[in-house]
Amino acid sequence: MASTDAPVQPRKTGLTRRQKRRLSRGVQYAVFVAAVIAFAVTADWDRLQNQFAQADIARQMFPDVITLALKNTVLYTVSGFAVGLALGMVIALMRLSSVGPYRWLAGVYIEIFRGLPALLIFIFIGVAVPLAFPGTEIVGGTYGKVALALGLVAAAYMAETIRAGIQAVPKGQVEAARSLGFSPARAMVSIIIPQAFRIILPPLTNELVLLFKDSSLVLFLGVTLEERELSKYGRDLASTTANSTPILVAGLCYLLVTIPLGLVVRRMEAKAQEAVK
């Protein structure tokens, strides 16, 4: 198929490159439009509207879906992010340590918690730990459990991100700091980490978005009415009303947060690109 632009080369199909490209593009559009039309014609719109967009059910969800469910989702996410960031920082520093066992331990942690499904961690924290250690109480009840479970998972990813960020700071920065009399720890805190965070702000924000969605796993912990977040709240209401509208509304609430966050990340990345130039 490889045709060249050289005019002396005889053309096999009689089409120029540009014509071929146009033809291919045209076919793609045609397929897309056909699929949309086919869906619009075959779908049972009344049934869909009845199932997903009942205004009175949606209305009945307010204001609880925001004041309770979204609030809890945000609370779970932020607390999980905080635990993950603190733990991830410790693990990243251990991973970069000159002490062998620290490096090894951090490596093991990262491999384990990156390799396990988050759901399994939730069940582990919610069910296995209380059974295995009767009498122990995780601080903060459900909120504490969720923060811990989300944090444990997030820490593994964040540790790798933070490590990459620290290693991306030029070596000359440490040398400059050390030659000014900074101790290794102080150079890390005052000079390296602030620069590393600038580098990893976009991936960290992405991690926040992932956590925001993962907080739905609270569903499996068994929570009180007051502790429900978006997914649980949506599902409960969907089953009591025997209608999927609450699921749709809950989904929209997620997007309400994740889409703006995604935009923020993209803007930060563009800005970082700009700074490199």
């Binding site: 030029p170 070596k171 920065q173 040398e175 400059a176 030659s179 000014l180 009399g181 620069q195 600038r198």
Partner: protein, 264 residues
């Protein structure tokens, strides 16, 4: 010349199998300005980095102001406060403004209060002629300005000795003069300086002594008039002729015992 401010005794440094320094003995007196010259890979930058222990010597001793840096029990951070270091690549802290580049080390390392640090910073920016750039960020400065800020940052710590690692090598030619002028001013003020450089004019006019290194050893050590003006060794003559008139150099075989590139 009074007591030696910097004393290097039988210094060896290897990177793996690569022996970059093969026994260096050097003394630099208080207020003396010594320029270290030599081909790339001769070990001159490594020697300088060994003087404040950014590189750990494999063997030998380094003394600065009477303190042995190579003593395993020495408080290296405390000694380094007395040694200012200026890098080829400036290494300013890009997330801090010019003033903060000067005040943060004073506050975190010397534990000075905010007002004192700010005053010292302003004084030193004034010295290098960049008082009006106090609030700028490093990225908005030219290379020459960044290097002068880097010198001011080192000076703000009140060092007894200043080390310069090819301070003008990363600069556009027209910006070299400003940095050299600041260094000349420091030399006139009596600062003890060890300068790794390719600037022969500076070496000739400002240095008290010039040290020529090649292959990890000091080949020649004397006044600029001796080493640059009337070199005794063939290797020195060869290096100087190539440096002063690069267009006339001939293509050479790389000699196998040539020490690997130590500069970074």
């Amino acid at each position: 010349m009074s007591r030696p401010e910097i004393r290097v005794k039988d210094l060896h440094k290897s990177f793996g199998d690569n022996e970059v320094l093969r026994g260096i003995d050097l003394e630099i007196g208080q207020g003396e300005v010594v320029c270290v010259i030599g081909p790339s890979g001769s070990g001159k930058s490594t020697l300088l980095r060994c003087v404040n222990l950014l590189e750990e010597p494999t063997k030998g001793q380094v003394f600065v102001g009477g303190t042995e840096l190579t003593d395993p029990d020495v408080d290296i951070d405390a000694v380094r406060r007395r040694i200012g270091m200026v890098f080829q690549q400036f290494n300013l802290f890009p997330h801090l403004s010019v003033t903060e580049n000067l005040t943060l080390p004073q506050r975190r390392v010397l534990r000075l209060d905010r007002a004192t640090a700010a005053r010292v910073a302003a004084e030193n920016l004034e010295r290098v002629g960049l008082a009006e750039k106090a609030d700028a960020y490093p990225a908005s400065l030219s290379g020459g300005q960044q290097q002068r800020v880097a010198i001011a940052r080192a000076l703000a710590m009140g060092p007894e000795v200043m080390l310069f690692d090819e301070p003008t090598s990363a600069l556009d030619p027209e910006l070299v003069g400003d940095v050299l002028a600041v260094m000349r001013m420091l030399a006139d003020e009596g600062m003890t300086m060890m300068v790794v450089t390719h600037e022969m004019t500076f070496a000739r006019e400002v240095a008290d002594r010039v040290v020529f290194m090649d292959g990890g050893v000091i080949v020649e050590d004397g006044t600029p008039g001796q080493v640059i003006g009337n070199p005794r060794h063939e290797r020195t003559r060869h290096f100087l002729s190539r440096l002063l008139d690069p267009a006339m150099a001939e293509v050479e075989e790389e000699t196998s015992d040539r020490v690997g590139k130590a500069d970074r």
